[in-house]
């Protein structure tokens, strides 16, 4: 999923370069250089980064807290107690739907404390959303 999502902007860039080359083919050296950069970047971002992100990515919905670990260059680990959960959203973008995935966002009263679990299987996401919503409706204190 990450690979495909990363492929889209790089493909656009490549198309842009081809257009540039067709419209204006005066400096072949520059074109070759730009193409090399694009290919290298695409290989890295489509081949390496998704694997890296997948290895970092962890999530857990425990009895007390929701926990995630995301990122590749910047690793981020987030934890929020379930008792403070205010809303639970699921979103599915076009690429997510292609792969049957969904994202779950758990928000608390703080804008700095939202926990997002990305790229879950749809049925898992629905189950988590339902589970969290149940627990959230039980709790009363949101510590505002």
């Amino acid at each position: 999923m990450w690979a495909v999502a990363a492929a889209v902007p790089w493909a656009l860039l490549a198309v842009g370069q081809v257009v540039w080359w067709v419209l204006d083919g005066r400096w072949p050296l520059w074109h070759a250089l730009a193409a090399a950069v694009t290919v290298g970047g695409a290989l890295f971002f489509i081949g390496v980064v998704p694997l890296w992100r997948y290895r970092v990515h962890r999530w857990e919905v425990g009895a007390q807290a929701v926990y995630t670990r995301t990122g590749w260059l910047v690793e981020e680990r987030r934890i929020a107690p379930i008792s403070r959960v205010q809303t639970v959203d699921t979103q599915r973008g076009p690429i997510d739907r292609l792969f049957g995935l969904a994202n779950v966002t758990v928000t608390t009263a703080s804008s700095a404390g939202a926990v997002q679990i990305v790229a879950l299987d749809s049925d898992v996401a629905d189950r988590i959303a339902a589970q969290l919503t149940d627990i959230a409706s039980l709790g009363e204190q949101d510590a505002t």
Binding site: A65, R78, P81, S110, S111, A112, G113
Partner: protein, 482 residues
């Protein structure tokens, strides 16, 4: 449900205030109409627009009404676009009042009610304005205090404004900003073009030519500096003069802040919503032993004027007030973040000089550099070193079951004290370089203030321990222990 409470009007005196404010607000338009009127030789343009503006101001009073019943407060307003704003009374977090000069002359006060949400712009619940005499009763009603008619509430003054606080005000850039803003305004209205042709400008230019460039620049710079100092002092005097911060401990307890010489402003905060405070010491203010205090409070915007408790004042005062509002322990010695964090401060500070020296070195190969460049570079390096040393000295935190205290920064040093009970989430963030250095940035999420408070470059193995100390539920998570 008992019978609905009647809608109330604002004070009739606003019939006088609204049109005047409306005229002032539409001043550019009115000037335009006057120009248009004289250009077309038809003064009806300007008179018509003036009448329209005044009419709008009057209409605002007739269309605005409010009511307070058992569950909620409602505000009906809008001349062309009607809107009804309803607010549940148990969501009211703070009540602030504001009286400009005109309001004060007529003994009127604007009442603003804010809730836990970040209501901005249109969503503000603002009663503009009610009689100042009714204010105490209204505020008590809004904050659901017990009507304290017989028992005089025990009010304790935490801090009172001293004229000596003014010595910190020239150390900010507000004066400079005001001069810049004023200049921009003047420039936009085209007054500069008029000035250029005037006698005054010509005389000034002549004088400048006689005195030479250097003197002119120095005179101008000194003039701007003196002007900015005077302006900042004046602004500080008028905004914060007569400031008084007090605390009433009957029932829930409220924090009451009052300031302003001409424009009187009062804020009343519910202490139960207070989640801590931020002691801010900008470099210049810190050099003169000053500090300012911000409240970390739910429903109050974390940055800027809204959360201000004390303007720049002696550090001891700010610290004492902070200690009284939170716990004395927050003033204790902080725990440093160790060698790795210090090293990172130094590398960061010297990143830019390093790039600069490479750039300079390369360019000397092509062009001859005046030696002054290297002097400036040396000064810059020394400043960077000072910054790094100061920044690494500032880093520190302190944590217990009640309070989290974090300090960082040099130019804008801040010491955040957050109530552990108000923390509703933790983030540990590590960049590649932080992972290599074995440190992490810990971010405590709260619903109050600026929402996220960071503890910079804590040793990585300590990060979760700090979080667990403040919020015991963190320790129960097996991921954290792993």
């Amino acid at each position: 449900m008992t019978q609905p409470v009647a809608w109330r009007r604002l004070s009739p005196r606003m019939l006088l205030v609204h049109p005047i404010h409306e005229v002032v607000r539409q001043l550019p338009l009115l000037i335009g109409s006057v120009v248009l009127g004289t250009a077309t030789g038809n003064p009806l343009w300007s008179i018509g627009l003036l009448a329209l503006t005044i009419g709008y101001g009057v209409a605002r009073w007739y269309t605005t009404s409010y009511r307070i019943d058992a569950e909620q407060i409602q505000l009906r307003a809008g001349v062309l676009q009607r809107k009804v704003l309803s607010l549940p009374r148990n969501r009211i977090r703070s009540v602030s009042t504001d009286a400009r000069l005109l309001h004060r002359l007529l003994s009127l006060t604007v009442v603003k009610v804010s809730t836990g949400q970040e209501g901005r712009g249109d969503a503000d619940f603002e009663l503009d304005a009610v009689l100042t005499d009714e204010l105490t009763a209204l505020r008590a009603l809004l904050l659901e205090e017990a009507p304290s008619v017989d028992a005089v509430p025990t009010e304790r003054v935490l801090a009172r404004w001293q004229p000596s606080w003014l010595r910190y005000s020239p150390l900010s850039f507000t004066g400079l900003a005001m001069i810049a803003a004023a200049f921009g305004l003047v420039y936009q209205t085209g007054a500069v073009a008029v000035l250029e042709d005037s006698e005054l400008a010509r005389a000034g230019l002549d004088a400048a030519e006689r005195a030479g460039v250097l003197v002119t620049v120095i005179v101008l710079a000194v003039g701007v500096l003196v002007g900015s100092v005077l302006l900042s002092v004046a602004r500080s005097l008028f905004t914060y003069g007569n400031l008084m911060l007090s605390r009433r401990d009957d029932g829930d307890g409220v924090l009451h802040l009052e300031h302003g010489l001409l424009r009187l402003r009062q804020h009343t905060y519910d202490i139960a919503r207070l989640r801590g405070g931020t002691l801010r010491e900008p470099l210049l203010v810190r050099l003169f032993g000053g500090a300012r205090l911000d409240a970390v409070m739910t429903g109050v915007n974390g940055a800027g004027e809204a959360s201000l408790l004390l303007p720049p004042c002696p550090r001891a005062t700010a610290q004492r007030v902070l200690g009284e509002l939170t716990a004395p322990a927050v003033g204790d010695e902080l725990r440093g973040h160790g060698a790795a964090a210090t090293r990172r401060r130094w590398t960061k500070a010297f990143m830019f000089p390093a790039i600069l020296v490479v750039a300079l070195g390369v360019s000397t190969l092509y062009v001859a550099m005046p030696s002054a460049v290297w002097v400036v570079f040396g000064v810059f390096c020394v400043a960077s070193a000072g910054l790094a040393a100061d920044r690494s000295r500032a880093l520190g935190h302190r944590v217990d079951a009640q309070w989290l205290v974090a300090r960082s920064g040099s130019l804008e040093r801040r010491r955040d004290c957050i109530a552990a009970a108000g923390i509703i989430g933790w983030t540990v963030r590590q960049t590649v370089f932080q992972r290599r250095a074995g440190v992490a940035t810990l971010i405590a999420a709260t619903a109050a203030g600026v929402k996220g408070y960071r503890v910079l470059d804590v040793p990585a193995d300590l990060a979760w321990a700090v979080a667990a100390e403040a919020s015991p539920w963190v320790a129960d998570n097996e991921w954290v222990r792993a």
